[in-house]
């Protein structure tokens, strides 16, 4: 399934998301969620440890300045890429 996460790294939604995230899932970071893709973010490293495919929405990453300091392992997707993720995954859970 696809998870979308739209909250800061300090928000409790992240912990709930982490618990439910599986290696076969995809996670797309949106809004304040993009800060999790910053290199050095320990919560971002916890996301990587789940083995899920990790994505960041390009427009939001740029808006936050995160695109220039992205941790390895996070893939940037544009809007069409976001749609493609929803094609591949029948279910979405929105964490915010």
């Amino acid at each position: 399934m696809l998870h979308t996460l739209n909250c800061s790294p300090e928000h409790p939604a992240l912990q709930d998301c982490l618990k439910l995230l599986r290696a076969e899932d995809a996670l797309l970071l949106l809004g304040d969620g993009v800060y999790l893709a910053l290199a050095q973010c320990s919560n971002g490293q916890a996301l990587q440890a789940t083995g899920a495919a990790l994505y960041v929405l390009e427009a939001d990453a740029r808006a936050a300045g995160v695109h220039a300091r992205l941790a390895l392992g996070f893939n940037v997707v544009d809007d069409a890429g976001f749609v493609a993720l929803t094609e591949r995954h029948a279910r979405q859970m929105a964490w915010y």
């Binding site: 409790p12 939604a13 618990k19 439910l20 029948a90 279910r91 859970m93 964490w95």
Partner: protein, 123 residues
């Protein structure tokens, strides 16, 4: 609409109330889906379990008593609701506090719920 064509919906409620109206929106969506005879389940996750604290009295703040509305779910033929075991424990909720028909679910069972429905609505 044939029963086979019906799509099941899992409503995940993660916010406490009465501070946020999202809890109410999640419950209304669950009841409406059930009222239209579509399969639906409600999962109280994380801070969402705080909606279940018994003996709520919202008369002084002047809003509807959410816990009482939650207790009406069986009349909408939503016989069970699912409750995050860890969060319930963390907030001191015991089985006696929970609505009748509540089922405590650990992470594996929560995940199984996610996988068992056609659509997931995160509130």
């Amino acid at each position: 609409m044939s029963a086979a064509a019906r799509k099941s919906v899992l409503v995940v409620t993660r916010h406490a109330q009465p501070g946020r109206s999202l809890a109410r929106a999640a419950l209304d969506t669950t009841l409406a889906t059930a009222a239209f005879d579509q399969p639906v389940n409600l999962l109280f996750l994380g801070a969402g379990v705080l909606q279940l604290i018994p003996h709520q009295d919202s008369s002084a703040v002047g809003v509807r008593n959410l816990r009482k509305v939650i207790d009406s779910m069986p009349l909408y033929d939503v016989e069970h609701c699912y409750v995050d075991t860890d969060a319930a424990q963390r907030h001191g909720l015991t089985t006696a506090d929970l609505p009748s028909g509540a089922i405590l679910v650990d992470v594996a069972a929560q995940r199984a719920l996610f996988d068992a429905h056609h659509h997931i609505l995160g509130f």
